[in-house]
């Protein structure tokens, strides 16, 4: 187990170097001019301003030189300075990471709970109407474009019926709590602001449902398959023979074992959640990493784009690592094998 973890950690710097190199090479083919986002289009005719900006941002240096400086800084934990916000990229990302994490964690809970519930229904009533409906519901989540679903959800629940609030993390008129963790749910509670907590929770409902539904399909498919596998085993027959009720067999006897193989898709769903959160954050004006990435990409803010990509890759690696660790912890056979 430890070997796997160490090997993965050792490979990471090379992966990072690879992506930095690739992004750098790609940026050389670009048609857009990053100076537009640094000094604005109006100043482009002003040779003095352009020269000053180029010198200030290192754009007058050669590509290999810029590459070497970037890699050197990266090795020291410096992702450079954003062209657009003029702040260190790492600071920008640190500010925005909690919002994304809060959303992704809530969506993961929705996706896992919903997916497992659907899978149990599917497996228990295999090949019946209930099974087909449950599978269709799960599949729809992965086929509906999240950005469209977000729009429709906002329109139906926020505009038409006013059941839930609109975009953002808090009501516009509300005073944001002092930032301690960056998680709105935690910060409002720490500030003793119960109304704020409820407001934050209500703002989380739509985006996490939309994002959660998009990963429900993967979870449900995987859990259903392993549930069917487990339900065919002798100990289940034994439990049934001893008179355990249907629900008890499903939840008490089968589910725990069925979830172990399903753990392997945790890392995989992370990729989907990131994809989804980029789009969901855009729709719900969520001030997280996803919307930051979109703004950066639109304005050719290379340090920011590269920074987000690197952080995303790191996150992906951590998710895969956690998956391996969780898998080993849950299945004793794996622990001994590695």
């Amino acid at each position: 187990m430890l070997k796997v973890v160490v090997r993965r950690l050792l490979v990471m710097p090379f992966l990072l170097l690879g992506i930095v190199t690739a992004t750098f090479l790609l940026a050389q083919f670009t048609k857009g001019n990053p100076l537009v986002s640094i000094i604005g289009a109006r100043n482009l005719d002003n040779a003095e301003v352009v020269a000053a900006a180029k010198a200030r941002w290192g754009l007058d240096r050669s590509v290999p030189e810029r590459y070497a400086i970037y890699v050197w800084n990266l090795a020291h934990g410096d992702l450079g300075t954003s062209f657009r916000t003029k702040q260190p990229v790492l600071k920008d990302l640190a500010q925005r990471l909690p919002a994304t994490l809060e959303l992704v964690i809530c969506a993961m809970i929705v996706g896992a709970a919903g997916g497992i519930a659907l899978a149990i229904v599917s497996a228990e009533f295999k090949n019946s109407l209930a099974d087909h409906v449950a599978r269709l519901v799960a599949l729809m989540g992965s086929c509906l474009p999240v950005f469209w679903l977000g729009l429709i959800a906002l329109f139906l629940f926020s505009v038409q019926t006013r059941l839930l609030p609109g975009p953002g993390r808090l009501d516009i008129r509300a005073v944001a709590p002092p930032v301690t963790t960056g998680f709105m749910l935690v910060d409002t509670l720490l500030a003793g602001n119960v109304a704020g907590f409820i407001d934050a929770a209500r703002h989380l409902v739509l985006p996490s449902l939309v994002l959660g539904w998009s990963v429900m399909g993967i979870v449900a498919r995987m859990v259903r398959a392993s549930m069917l596998d487990v339900l065919g085993q002798d100990y289940i027959t034994m439990a049934r023979a001893k008179g355990a009720g249907r629900l008890r067999v499903l939840v008490h006897h089968a589910l725990a074992n069925a979830l172990i193989p399903a753990l392997t898709i945790l890392g995989f769903t992370f990729a989907y959640l990131i994809t989804g959160s980029v789009l969901v954050e855009t729709i719900f004006s969520w001030p997280g990493i996803g919307s930051y990435a979109v703004e950066a990409a639109r304005s050719l803010d290379y340090p920011a784009i590269t920074g987000v990509t690197i952080i995303g890759g790191l996150g992906f690696l951590v998710a895969n690592l956690l998956t391996d660790v969780a898998y080993a912890a849950a299945d004793p056979r794996m622990r001994e094998a590695t």
């Binding site: 090379f14 790609l26 398959a225 990729a271 980029v278 050719l300 990509t309």
Partner: protein, 297 residues
């Protein structure tokens, strides 16, 4: 019987592809509703995409009526902020999304299959270099990589396609490599080597024909994924640019006219239908290609 150098043809397995396609249609009963549904949707969309310029009542990028009209008899899905017919634009959208998915998958599969087959067949340093390249690409969430690439290349449909190809080829390289490694162990390969075939012929005529079925299943499933991601990139402004009637781009227009829900309805449903169909079709294909997964396992 004389064993001559030409008898290696006799031990060559029959390509399973033709048999798989034949069996696919043979098993396609009326109970296979999802597959039928998918086939109807996709065939209809392809026909529409090919023929729509001949029978369209309105110009997809020209004025068709008053601005921001809700659905009516004249405009079934209403009109957008520039008075263009949403239904006509949605149907024209198939002329962008379907070819993009096709081009991305054909090129990505072409590159992936070639490199994956070489990696699996040759092994050693070629395998190492190619697979580390694939690892680097797969180590990043696809959307971020595609965004970084699309942003670097500049917005546009061609660049979106290019970004998606870069994101997608390693999946097929890995898949093909694993297949080749499996097939390489089979007896008929040894027989062919004894029969004296050249390595190139061994790979293309004796190994690769047996490797295709998971590739095709994956390709079918990925049609929906490619269309979703391409539309997502257009939605955030990195793909198709206005006034192109591309689905993601149209949903972005719908988002900026938030209260007119009908603008985004057509393209959203279109993406959903294509994506759902590609999943249904992929599931059906997999059941035929691998009987073990039948019974919805």
């Amino acid at each position: 019987m004389l064993m001559g150098p030409t008898t290696h043809r006799d031990v060559r397995p029959r390509p399973r592809l033709a048999g798989a396609i034949g069996g696919f249609f043979a098993r396609l009963g009326w109970r296979q509703v999802p597959v039928m549904f998918a086939a109807v949707v996709l065939v209809a969309l392809v026909l529409v995409a090919l023929t729509i310029p001949l029978w369209t009542p309105y110009d997809p990028i020209g004025l068709a009526g008053r601005r921001l009209q809700p659905p009516s008899a004249a405009h079934w899905l209403g009109t957008d902020a520039l008075g263009r017919d949403v239904l006509v634009r949605t149907l024209f959208g198939a002329r962008y999304s379907l070819p993009i998915a096709a081009v991305v998958l054909v090129v990505a599969v072409g590159i992936g299959v070639t490199l994956g087959a070489l990696a699996g067949f040759l092994g050693g340093i070629v395998d190492n270099v190619l697979m580390r390249l694939a690892d680097i690409t797969l180590a990043f969430p696809p959307v971020l990589l595609a965004m970084a690439i699309a942003a670097s290349l500049g917005p546009g449909l061609v660049n979106t396609a290019l970004a998606l190809i870069i994101v997608w080829w390693p999946i097929y390289a890995r898949l093909m490599r694993a297949q080749v490694l499996n097939v390489k162990k089979l007896d008929h390969v040894d027989a062919a080597i004894v029969g004296g075939v050249t390595p190139a012929r061994l790979l293309t005529h004796h190994i690769m024909p047996l490797c295709w079925s998971p590739i095709f299943v994956n390709m079918t499933m990925d049609v929906g994924q490619v269309i979703l991601l391409a539309a997502g990139l257009s939605f955030i402004g990195l793909g198709a640019q206005p006034p192109t009637p591309e689905w993601g781009q149209m949903i972005a227009e719908g988002a900026s006219n938030f209260y007119c829900w009908w603008i985004a309805l057509g393209p959203g449903m279109a993406i959903f239908l294509v994506s759902l169909s590609s999943n249904f079709l992929g599931d059906g294909l997999r059941d035929v290609a691998d009987p073990r997964t039948r019974q919805g396992g």
